[in-house]
Symmetry: C2
């Protein structure tokens, strides 16, 4: 009845049970010395998974496909990871990578702005990242580093911690939402693109949808311009940060 041996999963420090996935993400796995040497490392598995997803999307990433990539059998992967969900959780932190260093001389608004653009770009290095269903609040080292960078951008302000956190989070949510939109646009065939406004025009009754019809007539849904996406990302981010600015000013009279 050893209470330590009794613990079902994960390691524990000072009565706090750390989920196994988080342990693995931070590399706090106690080695385990007996038995044969491993044929690969968890890092290799994760990196190979990223290769597969880069090539064939998240939907194309199956355990068997990944095993083939590594030259092992499907089931061998389960010696490194408890489940596919856990693998994806590790992926989601690894693939986003660390944030770029932020110039500490920047004012909070410029810093947050740069941070947002950096996240936007980081996402589009592996767009399938957006397909990962977020199950638990992120706790991997890269995710935490991004959060750290965002929070430190707000460090100059006199805001309470709660507010800093909320603002940073909201910027991140904005970036992810926008990235999703852009990805959606990209994934369409040019034919569909051209069709969308005309389909709407056919389907919408101008009497029931006057505002929409007006927007449609103003070619709101036509996205011929080359960098529709970045311009709109810029626009929305500026509005968002305008709102933040007003709030920050209310703390610096």
């Amino acid at each position: 009845m050893n209470p330590v041996a009794e613990r079902p999963t994960g390691g524990a420090v000072n009565d706090v049970v750390i989920p196994k996935a988080i342990e693995l993400a931070w590399g706090i796995g106690e080695a385990g010395t007996r038995g044969p040497k491993r044929g690969m490392s968890l890092d290799q598995v994760i990196d190979a998974a990223i290769e597969v997803a880069d090539a064939e999307g998240l939907a194309g990433l199956s355990m068997s496909r990944l095993a083939k990539q590594l030259g092992f059998t499907t089931m061998s992967l389960y010696r490194y990871v408890d489940s596919k969900d856990m693998l994806v959780l590790l992926l989601s932190d690894r693939v986003i990578g660390p944030p770029p260093p932020l110039d500490p001389a920047l004012q909070w608004r410029d810093a947050l702005d740069a941070w947002a653009f950096a996240e936007f770009e980081a996402i589009f290095k592996h767009p399938w990242w957006l397909d990962i269903p977020l199950a638990a609040p992120p706790a991997g080292p890269n995710n935490m580093a991004w959060l750290e960078a965002g929070l430190s951008a707000m460090g100059q302000t006199a805001l309470p911690e709660q507010a800093k956190f909320q603002l940073v989070m909201n910027v991140s949510l904005y970036v992810m939402s926008r990235a999703r939109l852009v990805r959606e646009m990209m994934s369409e065939t040019p034919e569909d693109d051209a069709n969308y406004p005309s389909v709407l025009a056919k389907v919408l009754d101008p009497e029931k949808f006057p505002a929409l019809t007006k927007a449609l007539a103003a070619q709101v849904f036509d996205l011929d311009e080359t960098d529709w996406d970045v311009a709109d990302f810029r626009f929305g981010l500026d509005r968002l940060l305008d709102g933040f600015e007003r709030y920050v000013e209310s703390y610096e009279p």
Copy 2:
């Protein structure tokens, strides 16, 4: 070589091919008169799918599970729908329902605010809606009605249509992101909830994550308060609309 008969899928009006899914969403399916009467209707299928998803989540909605609900065989469903993806697409419009009527006397900010809260509440009537992967830009009647309502809320302003659309869209994206967050919080066991901050505390090196450590010490991640979610939703929305206000004012000197 009849060019009409040659068309592979969907109906067409004036050279614009309407995708079949959109036809079905708007109920523009030409009946098809020959053959036996149908045992059910597409609406019944969709409603049953909503029942299943309400009971067992989107992951629990399989074609066979849905068929059982309806008392038919799995394959019978494919007489109503080309694929599960198409069913889900129809679901995504049906389940969000129509927007509530907006008081036209409201100022744009109050109207948008009410609109955002209404969407927030609508989502939480069927939280699994958030799990639906958005494949194509939404074009169903309910989605369009929500968009119409949002745009008409901005109708009083002097903004160009593009800007109106962007602002409305950004509010909607904010609502969805926040809803995702709240859902994530809800889905956790109270035990995990309590653990998250302490796990972070164990894992984070205060030297490498000073800002995060400070936030952690300020109990930013402790969510004991009863309505944590609504308060933060309110907060972020206010900041967002503050930003909009500044922009709108720049058009009304």
